[in-house]
Point group: C2
């Protein structure tokens, strides 16, 4: 018999979806906070839930063998001093379409002058200002995993040219030009849009900093639906305030909620979206646990395993 601890703000929805799958030899217990999870979780060999909650009860999970995170980012479980004697899998493949809707929603809002045209309407003005177009524009993707690949595919649907920046991989057919390692200047040159979907690791921390921002054209717009820590926020604020960068759409920050004193609230060329770019919905994530449970029970390799050293 296996025992699953569902530890999630959405525990009732996860329990219902997993019970409906009638997985063999699986008992399910659940909690919506860490305090209750510690007592429920003792005999559990797998845990499904939010990394921030799971990190709080890791030491109490005596029988733990596998954690399925409901997020793509698993930083809370990578903190120094936390145990790593279990298999950690994250959620992949489901956030790409949501990220594409977020990114291209804001790119098109920018090209189509959605905000200024609405201001014209409120002023009763028939606004014939010609909009821009994504056709032929260049988008640079920092990170081309499953999310970046979905963004690249959507970019091609809008006839854009795609630059991809990765550590080493070149797997995505929708990327027109690849860049790696120290090649940041060449990657950034001529971009109309820079989108960051890198995970937060020691290697990516502060990567979107002064050097990369200076290599972008002045008319470029930066979109960050990834991780706040990948951005040097001081350098970004400088670039936006001085006009060296046209605008930014920011979903994530070093500190969330963004503190009231942050300059980003007050910059007219910044849009803030409150970490909503790609929310984790039980309907999307439960099937990943269900598929992985079948592998777990059969002793097979699990999908979407995280490398603790690499951080993703």
């Amino acid at each position: 018999m296996h025992r699953l601890l569902v530890l999630s703000r959405h525990a009732p929805a996860y329990c219902r979806l997993i019970e409906e799958a009638r997985l063999p030899e699986l008992e399910i217990v659940s909690a919506t906070d860490a305090a209750h999870a510690a007592q429920e979780g003792a005999g559990c060999d797998s845990v499904l839930g939010e990394p921030s909650l799971i990190a709080q009860v890791l030491p109490q999970l005596a029988a733990l063998r596998w954690v399925q995170a409901t997020w793509a980012g698993v930083e809370p479980l990578l903190a120094a001093g936390l145990r790593r004697d279990y298999v950690l899998t994250n959620a992949r493949g489901v956030f790409g379409p949501l990220m594409s809707e977020y990114v291209f929603g804001y790119l098109l809002a920018h090209e189509r002058l959605i905000f200024s045209r609405h201001a014209s309407q409120l002023a009763g003005r028939w606004d014939r200002t010609p909009p821009g177009s994504l056709r032929g524009k260049r988008i640079g993707l920092l990170g081309v995993g499953s999310i970046g690949a979905d963004l690249a595919h959507t970019a091609k649907c809008f006839h854009m040219r795609v630059h991809g920046y990765t550590r080493a991989t070149e797997g995505c057919p929708d990327v027109d030009a690849w860049f790696h390692g120290d090649d940041l200047d060449a990657f950034a040159r001529g971009l109309d849009y820079l989108v960051c979907v890198l995970p937060h690791t020691p290697a990516t921390r502060g990567l979107v900093g002064e050097r990369l921002l200076r290599a972008l054209p002045q008319h470029a717009v930066f979109v960050n639906p990834g991780r706040g820590q990948v951005v040097d926020e001081e350098a970004l604020a400088d670039a936006l305030q001085s006009g060296r960068l046209a605008g930014a759409v920011l979903d994530v920050f070093h500190e969330e909620p963004l503190p009231p004193y942050s300059v980003f609230w007050r910059l007219p060329n910044v849009l803030i979206t409150g970490h909503t770019a790609a929310l984790s919905f039980p309907e999307d994530i439960a099937p990943i646990y269900i598929d992985n449970y079948r592998r777990f029970r059969a002793g097979e390799e699990l999908k979407y395993r995280v490398d603790f050293e690499r951080g993703y």
Copy 2:
């Protein structure tokens, strides 16, 4: 020797682009308004330009054999009493990508709550309201010519279900379900978005009227980047004011610019975009004339010929 009259607000750009193509046996004259065109155009056998301008000089064009319109819609040339003793071709294939950017820009703005999230930002509020998604939603396309086909393709990129309404054709592989003729209720049922890209003809006039609007779900949004005359504006305003329809994004109207007294200016669930959805750019249209001129000179069938009776 052939002689072309370029009659367009963008005449200099058209002349430059066509001269660069060095078309054999072609002399080019140009005008930016009808008054000058009448004297210039006498010996011209082809005309390239805006239908509204060309309609004013049609009687003076003694040698006319072919008109290449720079727009998709050619209503001004279909007016009663105007000559039809020439070949009329319009612009196709170039507006689809622009229309897709317009339509999906506003669909994504709606799903991603772009306006309300910006209002939160201005109020200094970290807004975690979950956005909607286009995935699995239903889009209904009134008209599936080259523009509708591009919209259908983009809808599939966002994992939507596509209903297509046409007179008879069923040529587009991205349409999931086809509807024709009197089948409007079945077409509209369950749609999340209704987009109208029908041409204005006697058969389409007022098609978006009370019956079609009543068949839509209450949460549906209507987008019209096509022709204002296809909409019964009174019925649409009623549906929007009574809450039977969630919203509308309107690019075109019976009267343009939209008169100051129009109720649409004041409806909070309407966005007005000033007939900018798919502007006609010489860079896109000149290649159509150039390709058709080669056919014209060779005595071949021209591309994108308009049927005067059908109206498109």
